[in-house]
């Protein structure tokens, strides 16, 4: 059983080492691709195991929980690992067309896979301190990816990204210290039991707030998101796509995990904060996007506004709400990564990323227009695309609890999202190019173009499939939500007979 759990962490690490050794030639690129495919296979096997057995757990080096490090996969973890593998593969394929050998020689593929290992590790671990370690693995690799190549804008963005993320990590670390002081354990399943026995529950809530701030910065929720729009438009498109798809979602995942498994003693207080934070996140994100005029900056602000929907699902704390949050996570990762990839092709075809300085893309490449429209409308929540169902479930869950205002904000933000998407559409695709320059896809060499278009098409098809057959995915999300809300099975699987 442990092998299924360890493989999604081990495969990217092995790939990273091999890719680093082979970074000077084309072999590194192919190793990297092979590693991504292997990860996808391993994550599929893990998913199959989880569907068959429910929650599965493995004790590393056979140290019994709660003393050793436990890897656990419930439905949420398994889904997240699968989606990580999909995004990783899509980005690596895209990078075949985008990433230049100069960047590869600097160790691009090694950093990329080290980051993926960190992400998968964070999704699979059942130990709070181990979660911190995975966060760091992911962070330090992402620092490298952000500044690789080292142009001025990247360094500038790197400073802000590094500074704020390090602060959040330290909040998280202090939280771990205090939680350990209160309970004497670090295993999440054991914490679920131990936290209930702490006499001074107010202290637990204080520690919960440290965790909320730590994860909140990572997830880029209001008012802790400022590092994100400062950084995500500067690196290469492959890097910003994988950042946009995965990194903030690790924060959301950690929030979902800790605030359903450990910090549930005072839901009326903690989740009420999350609720209003979510509403503010949705609104500020979408309004920030409306003020921007650069392709990737608009998309970056939309990440923030969409994060609000996911944390809203958690804040509602009902089976339907959490199911909506999980569904939203999956939908969002696919759609958002795809939009950044499209932005890359648009930039290469039209010569710039500033909306005022490009245009005429629809005339030049109607197919690219279609590929933009699918994820863009999905993001805004048009039926029958995946975003519609994601929003539908979250809004329905908030209406069921009679949070009229929150539901109103969620719908309004959907409307404003269309505004931003039409802005990109009108400026980049419809209006003629301001400099009289003919944008052409044929400006990109075919050897570069096809690896770039292939993942875009694949991700767009996935969005359509989720949109057309939502039952399967909603059911999966509901299973995940039920497991989150009732962690008995999770705790018993991890602790075995020790569970009281």
């Amino acid at each position: 059983m442990s092998w299924y759990l360890a493989a999604p962490v081990a495969i990217p690490f092995v790939t990273a080492v091999l890719a680093f050794l082979l970074r000077n030639g084309p072999a590194g690129r192919w190793v990297s691709l092979a590693g991504s495919v292997a990860l996808l296979v391993a994550s599929g096997l893990l998913m199959a195991q989880v569907i068959e057995h429910g929650v599965i757990a493995g004790q590393m080096s056979n140290w019994e929980a709660p003393f050793g490090i436990t890897l656990v996969a419930d439905t949420l973890s398994a889904v997240m690992v699968v989606i990580t593998a999909i995004t990783g593969l899509a980005t690596i394929v895209y990078g075949m067309g985008e990433i230049r050998p100069r960047i590869e020689r600097l160790g691009y593929h090694a950093l990329f896979h080290a980051m993926i290992a960190g992400v998968c590790g964070a999704f699979l671990t059942g130990d709070v301190f181990n979660l911190y370690v995975w966060f760091e693995v992911m962070l330090i690799a992402s620092f490298g990816l952000l500044v690789i190549g080292g142009n001025k804008a990247q360094i500038d963005a790197g400073i802000k990204y590094v500074a704020l993320n390090l602060v959040s990590t330290l909040a998280f670390l202090s939280g771990i210290g205090m939680l350990y002081g209160l309970t004497g354990t670090l295993n999440m399943a054991d914490l679920h039991l131990a936290v209930q026995e702490v006499e001074n529950q107010a202290l637990v809530t204080v520690v919960a707030m440290l965790f909320m701030v730590g994860f909140g910065v990572k997830a880029a929720v209001f008012p802790l998101f400022f590092w994100l729009p400062a950084a995500y438009h500067t690196p290469s498109f492959s890097v910003s796509a994988v950042f946009a798809g995965l990194l903030t979602k690790v924060g959301v995942y950690a929030l979902m995990r800790m605030f359903t498994l450990v910090f549930v003693g005072d839901v009326g207080f903690t989740h009420e904060i999350l609720l209003w934070v979510s509403a503010a996140t949705m609104l500020t994100g979408v309004l920030g996007a409306a003020a921007q005029s650069e392709f990737r900056k608009i998309l970056s602000f939309h990440i923030i506004s969409q994060i609000g929907y996911m944390t809203l699902g958690l804040a509602l704390y009902t089976p339907l709400g959490l199911a909506g949050g999980v569904f939203y996570l999956v939908h969002h990762i696919i759609v958002k990564a795809n939009l950044f990839l499209v932005a890359g092709v648009a930039q290469k075809a039209a010569g710039h990323n500033e909306l005022a300085r490009i245009g005429g893309l629809y005339k030049a490449a109607p197919f690219l227009g279609l590929l933009f429209i699918i994820p863009a409308f999905s993001l805004a929540g048009f039926p029958p695309l995946s975003g519609f169902w994601a929003k539908f479930v979250v809004v329905k869950a908030s209406l069921e609890l009679e949070y009229w205002f929150i539901a109103f904000v969620a719908l309004l933000v959907g409307l404003l999202t269309i505004y931003s998407m039409t802005k990109i559409w009108a400026a980049a695709f419809w209006k003629p190019h301001p400099d009289g320059y003919e944008p052409k896809l044929s400006r990109i060499p075919p050897g570069d173009l096809w690896p770039m278009l292939l993942p875009i098409v694949a991700l767009a098809v996935m969005t359509m499939i989720i949109g057309l057959f939502p039952e399967v995915f909603v059911q999966l999300a509901e299973t995940a939500a039920v497991q989150l809300l009732d962690p008995t099975h999770y705790v018993e699987t991890v602790l075995g007979e020790v569970a009281r």
Binding site: F129, Y132, V133, E136, L139, I140, F143, V147, G150, K152, A153, Q154, I155, D156, A157, G158, I159, K160, V162, A163, L166, V167, T169, L170, L173, S174, I176, G177, M178, Y180, G181, L182, P229, A230, A231, H233, T234, A291, Q292, S293, E354, A356, R357, P434
Partner: protein, 125 residues
């Protein structure tokens, strides 16, 4: 003993926050390393302090005799120190690189990625 360490942690946190409020990125980094040491001490203190009882098991025995110090926080702190050291080294190199390519360490002056004059809808150079 815990009281003394707690006060020390409080002082470290306060100094760190003060330094991190500075606009100079280097001062911010010094604040950060103080903060990371404070966080490490939090873990150390949270594991309870036992004086003069090293976490050693006598040769041949399977369990220690009597009360010994908690070894887990030491392992955690060691891990955190190593990670913190790596991150700090990276941040320091980044600061140096920023100074070389941007010519400043004042975070208010770092506007390459987000130009000040940028107004929605207007082209920028």
């Amino acid at each position: 003993m815990e009281i003394v360490v707690s006060i020390l942690i409080g002082l470290l946190f306060a100094t760190a926050v003060y330094l991190m409020l500075a606009r100079n990125f280097l001062r911010f980094l010094f604040g950060l390393i103080l903060l990371s040491n404070a966080a490490n001490l939090v873990i150390f203190a949270a594991g309870r302090m036992t004086e003069g009882a090293p976490a050693l098991i006598p040769y041949g025995a399977l369990t220690p005799d009597g009360e010994i110090a908690n070894a887990l926080p030491q392992a955690l702190v060691l891990t955190a120190i190593v990670i913190g050291f790596g991150l700090f080294a990276f941040a320091l190199v980044l600061a140096f690189q920023a100074y070389r390519s941007l010519g400043t360490l004042d975070s208010d002056e770092m506007r390459v990625a987000e130009p000040r004059e940028e107004i929605a809808g207007e082209a920028r150079e």
